[in-house]
């Protein structure tokens, strides 16, 4: 043994500090984490912190700002346009998410059945997801155009209305119009994800329920819905977050108009910060979204978290 140990010891002595460091599990582990941490800090933590900081300053484009504490938030709290955008954002998120869930679940259930041309239907369902958002937004802009709207044209030809609908000129028409565009855009994500969830449910559960005497509706209520609820929680959290922070559709179709009635917090923030040059105020509006987003995440985390039956057994 002594003879064996000697050359090893000599080798260790010869190796440099650098080589030895790379033989240590802890050092090597830390080294492997460096790229990930660097990316996270550079592209997530730093911008977030900068955003927080900007929200507390009166920075304008072209000039370094001063720290002014919560003054941006105080002035925003007296700003009716800001509160209108908060209302719009909540309305937009709730209305669009609810309809997206309903249509998405319906499509997922449909696609989970034996259906003629199933793969083709599935491809068609995915289409809105494939088209770049801005392109589909431009298409919607034309669909909602006050003179060239295809919807108005069809309805007039069908004799259902006599005048072109002013989709984007009236506040509520405009709100519902952008909600519809968002639904069209968001349904594929919900549908395909829920379909994936449905396909993980073992067919033998349905067969067992069938033998137990369940009707179609009872099978949905007692098997599909409870088994799908974890996926629903994840999908709807994502959907709500994406809808709440939506920017592209609104900016392309209405730019927040008419008279700010479709401004979301994201578009208002952009308008105040980049178009208006008040970086500090824009950042403050963005920061004001955070409590809502955290609330949405917490709701899905606590309200729909893994139920007891999904947790591991004791054996």
């Amino acid at each position: 043994m002594a003879v064996m140990a000697e050359p090893v010891a000599a080798q260790v002595k010869r190796s440099s500090l650098w080589t030895r460091a790379f033989e240590s599990r802890h050092f090597l582990g830390a080294m492997f984490m460096v790229p990930a941490i660097a990316i996270l800090i550079l592209f997530l933590a730093y911008p977030l912190a900068l955003g927080f900081w900007l929200g507390m300053t009166d920075t304008k484009i072209g000039g370094a700002g001063r720290f002014i504490g919560f003054q941006n938030f105080v002035s925003l709290s007296k700003d009716s346009v800001f509160w209108l955008s908060v209302f719009n954002t909540i309305f937009y998120t709730v209305a669009a998410s609810a309809v997206k869930f309903a249509i998405g679940l319906y499509l997922a259930l449909l696609l989970n059945e034996r259906l003629p041309f199933k793969s083709m239907v599935r491809a068609i369902v995915l289409l809105p997801f494939v088209v770049p958002t801005v392109l589909s937004a431009i298409a919607f802009w034309w669909i909602y155009d006050s003179q060239f709207s295809i919807i108005s044209w069809v309805l007039i030809k069908a004799g259902l209305i006599t005048r072109y609908i002013d989709f984007l000129g009236d506040p509520w028409n405009a709100r519902w119009s952008v909600v519809a565009a968002n639904i069209w855009r968001g349904v594929p994500f919900v549908a395909i994800t829920l379909l994936a969830g449905l396909q993980t449910i073992s067919p033998s559960l349905y067969e067992a329920a069938n033998l137990d005497g369940a009707t179609n509706l009872q099978r949905f209520r007692h098997i599909t819905l409870p088994m799908l609820s974890p996926i629903i929680a994840v999908v709807m959290t994502f959907s709500v977050l994406m809808t709440f922070t939506d920017f592209q559709l609104i900016y392309t179709i209405t730019r927040g108009g008419p008279i700010n009635s479709t401004h979301l917090m994201a578009t208002l923030s952009f308008q105040r910060a980049i178009t208006g040059g008040n970086l500090g105020e824009g950042a403050a509006i963005s920061n004001a979204m955070i409590p809502f987003l955290v609330a949405a995440i917490l709701l899905s985390f606590f309200g729909l978290q893994r139920s007891r039956w999904q947790q591991g057994g004791r054996d």
Binding site: A208, L211, G213, I223, M227
Partner: protein
Amino acid sequence: MSSVQIRDVRKSFGNFEVLHGVSIPIEDGQFVVLVGPSGCGKSTLLRMLAGLENITSGTISIGDRVVNNVQPKERDIAMVFQNYALYPHMTVGENMGFSMKLRGESTEEINKRVKRAAEILALSPLLERYPRQLSGGQRQRVAMGRAIVRDPQVFLFDEPLSNLDAKLRVAMRTEIKELHQRLKTTTVYVTHDQIEAMTMADKIVVMHDGIVEQMGTPLELYDKPDNQFVAGFIGSPSMNFLKGHVRVNGVATFEGPNGVKLPLQNAPAASDGRPVVYGVRPEHFTIADDGADAEIVVVEPTGSETQVFAKLGGEQVVAVFRERHQFNPGDKVKLKPDPSVVHLFDEATGKRV
């Protein structure tokens, strides 16, 4: 409880026929095991009985009622699935009471019946658990409990023990048989394991390639297999088969490969020269001075008996001895089949001669 009649049932998937006219009468209270290699159509037949697959032609009746077009839930049957198909989001008690809940029965009635079934299956302490928290054997029992609670006309079991380890399988086998003796409900049980079939069944139906090869009591099938397939399928280790010819020369003998001569009890003179397959079960060999020459290849002692693999006329055969011979690989022995329990099959058709 009810009898079940399966009459000339066929099943096709597209143009591919998997069941070619199967008829099985099942008496009230009988424990029938459908056994066969995978792909023989036994599970399909069971699923047709449950109503989970359509019947292409023929009829299935439960009691006096033809159920071809009756919905599964109205057939009054309960099925235990291979993967148990327990509802993961319901407790054991809820799983067992689900069918009654769907029928809108009162909570007290459900609780009473679930409690009784749980007592029968020793599940009482587990009623509040979720399926995930149970072991394989416990899940198996819950699946049976779900069937018992319904008190159906017929129990259907689809390979219920194949997900369990060997020891548990033996224990559950006994438990299911005991349960049947207690409840006396007509039972159709599908398995690919002939030992399960032999130990549990009142009647075994051996299926192969979509037809019924033979049905009968376990010992009938063991002692008098209708054909070479059944002979080879039933029994472990399986029957030895040797190809050769019948020789009637005053006394009937079998002439096997490389001129091996083996005894036959009797054979009509006209069958001289007929090509046959000579079947002998491993336990029907004895060591005798007038036996055929064989060379031992492998010896496998299991304690209660010893399995001996030997070359007989160049063919490998297996013999089982309960007495403890001192054998070593390479030893020459004289193996003699008991001619009174030897089976002869036609070489071309495989039918019993």
